[in-house]
Symmetry: C2
Subunit: 230 residues, 2 copies
DNA sequence: GAGGCGAGGATTGGATCCAAGATTTAGGAT
DNA sequence: ATCCTAAATCTTGGATCCAATCCTCGCCTC
């Protein structure tokens, strides 16, 4: 006796189930990355829980995860605070990015597919338009899309996730010290170079170019910050 | 009126406070890394909590952290299971290690200190003895000491921690497929080479040598595993 | 006899409650 | 007046309890 009221009975486990911890984590992460929660800001569990419409319990777990991701700093009986990166820590993140993005680009190039190349070309084109329109937020997103399209082709899940997290930490600063136009033209030129190297299948060259690209990003950010300590 | 009963009143914050979540996390991590908890094993929260002498609440948070570290896999309403790495995932981890250890070695060499060099030499010597005595566990630990003494000198906290976690994931397999003697002599020779390059200050060479060293480790592990899927 | 359906038990996610530690504020002594 | 002390308040960590989901086992139907 098939019951038509239930459309399909065979996909409850594969269906993505979002627990309250997930919801809280994602929302908090977004707030931090987009500046709604500033560096050094204290994270009061009770208030945050209320703001997120969850109990304190899932919120605490969310804080734990964000601490593990390096976005906040938590000490035992003290309020967690949004992690602000010192210049040294920023260099730290960028060196890790240099390393990871270098091999992801190399292996991504080695294992590239048509769809991956198409995605890169498309991101590059749109990025040119975004630059012309001076749309900063979109520019940052497209920059990310361009690189990560290639990195995805490497097929290294864990490496990819590590790189994503590193990227998160630094993009926050890029967005903050907004006027990214500094070096944007250079960045585009480097993207074109990377795309060409990828089309040519020059894995060694693409690694080297990617590392240079990342380090130049650090240099740009350094100049933007210059003066403050964090 | 100084009270002699309290030795010093001015160091409560710096004193390391270990929360139950920390205790549970460390113990569980150790169990997983040393094989007391095997791949695919289901982690029953109630039983584990009892075994660790903590409540289910801190245990759940510990599981969350280990999931974030990639040691276990957690799905919403299902028991967490100890993460087993497939061959592909093992390559993933090693590629990330190659990237990270490469730059840590490079920058560590650039910023090396006397104490760091001394530590490396000492680890190398003890490693030779451990190999002679066929003491596997000590050998793995000393291998780690040798490399990480150098990495510490780089002064990149975050990169260091990422690399530590990657190392955890792969060391578990090294210990499991015990007879590490395969390639141990090669490994020692490479360590000597790395030490020499470091003394010479050849940053480029040390990076290249370290990357080769890591990849050879992967190759060794592949041979040991060859046959099974995980 | 095999496959599907359903009920019961088991296990996890979430909420409230209590305890332990920390921060703040008021008070007193120098 | 300032600094130190101490008590009160606030915030976080941990435990127990309840609800929601999943898993297993037995039963029924074909």
């Amino acid at each position: 006796m098939p019951d038509p009221s239930q459309e399909r009975t065979d996909l409850p486990p594969p269906a993505e189930y979002r627990t309250k911890v997930d919801i809280a984590t994602d929302q908090l992460r977004s707030w931090i990355l987009h500046g709604q929660l500033q560096h050094g800001e204290r994270l009061d569990q009770t208030k945050l829980a209320a703001a997120l419409n969850v109990s304190r319990m899932p919120l605490r777990q969310a804080l734990l995860r964000l601490a593990e991701e390096g976005l906040i700093q938590a000490s035992p009986h003290r309020s967690a605070v949004v992690m602000g990166l010192t210049r040294a820590e920023l260099e730290d993140v960028y060196q890790a990015r240099r390393a990871m993005e270098g091999i992801l680009a190399e292996l991504g190039c080695e294992r590239r597919t048509d769809t991956c190349m198409k995605a890169m070309e498309r991101a590059l084109q749109e990025q040119e338009r975004a630059l012309a329109r001076n749309n900063l937020k979109r520019w940052v997103d497209l920059d990310r899309d361009f690189h990560f399209s290639l990195y995805r082709a490497a097929g290294l899940q864990r490496s990819y996730e590590i790189t994503e997290q590193l990227r998160m930490s630094s993009d926050r600063y890029i967005r903050h010290y907004a006027s990214y136009r500094t070096g944007a033209a250079d960045s585009l030129a480097e993207h074109r170079e990377i795309l060409q190297l990828c089309q040519a299948g020059d894995t060694g060259g693409i690694r080297e170019a990617t590392e240079r690209h990342v380090l130049r990003g650090l240099e740009t950010l350094r100049q933007l910050i210059s003066g403050g300590d964090e």
